[in-house]
């Protein structure tokens, strides 16, 4: 459930961000891309520590008191997963939008389509397979997220125990059978997601 919520939030932000990066040139574009893709290369544990440190300062404390409490909660899991997958979502979605010919958008605009109408009737449909593949892969990545989630949400059984954290806990308690069973589940989900994404990206959206 946390992975689905984190993925939905990430895609909500990533779709407009990826479209802007694909179509427009603006000052600071390189910096924006670097910031968005930074979580892809930095250690998830470091990301989690950064989030934890943020919530220990005045702004972070104010947010937790007046908005949502993140540390050691379900919301913390969603936040940690969201931060780790956002960059990946933006990168994959940008690739999907890059493959939609701008020429077709120009044609649609000259035929009377507003930018919003053209986005929903031409751009999104033509990027459909890439969008779905992005959803599947970022969801699978969120599901397997460990380091940042452990830092922010902890490992409380039945409260903030995600699948990777459950694997870690069972291994720590020398429960090898339980560990292997959960590994099979996680690997199975990952392989299925990869296979589905590959099939979608190979298939043309045109037929």
């Amino acid at each position: 459930m946390a992975a689905t919520a984190a993925t939905a939030l990430a895609l909500l932000l990533a779709i407009p961000a990826a479209y802007a990066l694909s179509r427009f040139t603006f000052i600071g574009k390189g910096a924006v891309e670097t910031v968005l893709e930074f979580p892809i290369i930095v250690s998830p544990a470091a990301l989690g520590a950064i989030i934890l440190i943020f919530f220990n300062n005045s702004l972070g404390e104010w947010l937790q008191t007046n908005a949502v409490y993140f540390v050691f909660t379900f919301a913390g899991i969603v936040l940690a997963q969201f931060v780790t997958i956002l960059g990946l979502a933006v990168r994959m979605l940008k690739t999907a939008f890059d493959e939609v010919p701008e020429e077709l958008e120009v044609v649609a605009r000259t035929l009377g389509g507003s930018p919003r109408h053209v986005f929903f009737t031409v751009t999104l449909p033509l990027a459909r397979n890439g969008l779905i593949a992005s959803f599947i892969l970022t969801w699978a990545k969120a599901l397997g997220e460990f380091g940042a989630t452990l830092m922010v949400a902890g490992s409380m059984a039945m409260r903030t125990e995600t699948l990777p954290i459950a694997i870690f806990m069972r291994l720590s308690n020398a429960d090898i059978e339980g560990t292997v069973a959960l590994i099979f589940v996680l690997v199975g989900i990952g392989l299925t997601a990869l296979y589905a994404a590959r099939r979608l990206l190979k298939r043309s959206v045109y037929v």
Partner: protein
């Protein structure tokens, strides 16, 4: 009458400078030039898909320089035909009418007449991508 006056436009490092055009109604013209000379940049500037830095564009007496693309009343057929591959033949033909929110009674009779003249009635439900390129 279509007029371009002192048009300047920039695309990346390319700068189109001081272009003048005057096209009378019913006239047919061609823009010729070597690769990289600015033909596509000029076209995109006239269509409004790239911003112009200076100059004017007028169509039938209207100053359309700052108008959004969808209001300029300029048709555009690109090199690769510009058909929407994910839409059916009928959806392609009616795209403009639906984008401009025209009532079906206003455009369907004309569409039916065009389909009859071109004898493509049997292709209306086919997606463009499934049609032969010839």
């Amino acid at each position: 009458m279509f007029e371009v006056e002192a048009l300047n436009a920039r695309l990346g490092g390319f700068h189109l400078q001081d272009i003048h055009l005057l096209l009378g109604e019913g006239e047919c013209h061609a823009v010729l030039g070597p690769s990289g000379s600015g033909k596509s940049t000029l076209l995109n500037a006239i269509l409004g898909s790239i911003p112009i830095t200076d100059g004017h564009i007028r169509l039938g007496g209207d100053e359309i320089t700052r108008w959004p693309m969808e209001r300029r009343r300029l048709g555009y057929v690109p090199q690769h035909l510009g058909l929407f591959p994910h839409l059916s033949v009928h959806e392609n033909l009616s795209y403009s009418a639906r984008a401009r929110k025209l009532a079906r009674d206003d455009f369907e009779p004309l569409l039916d007449r065009l389909v009859e003249i071109t004898a493509i009635g049997n292709l209306l439900d086919r997606r463009i991508a499934t049609l032969s390129g010839g």
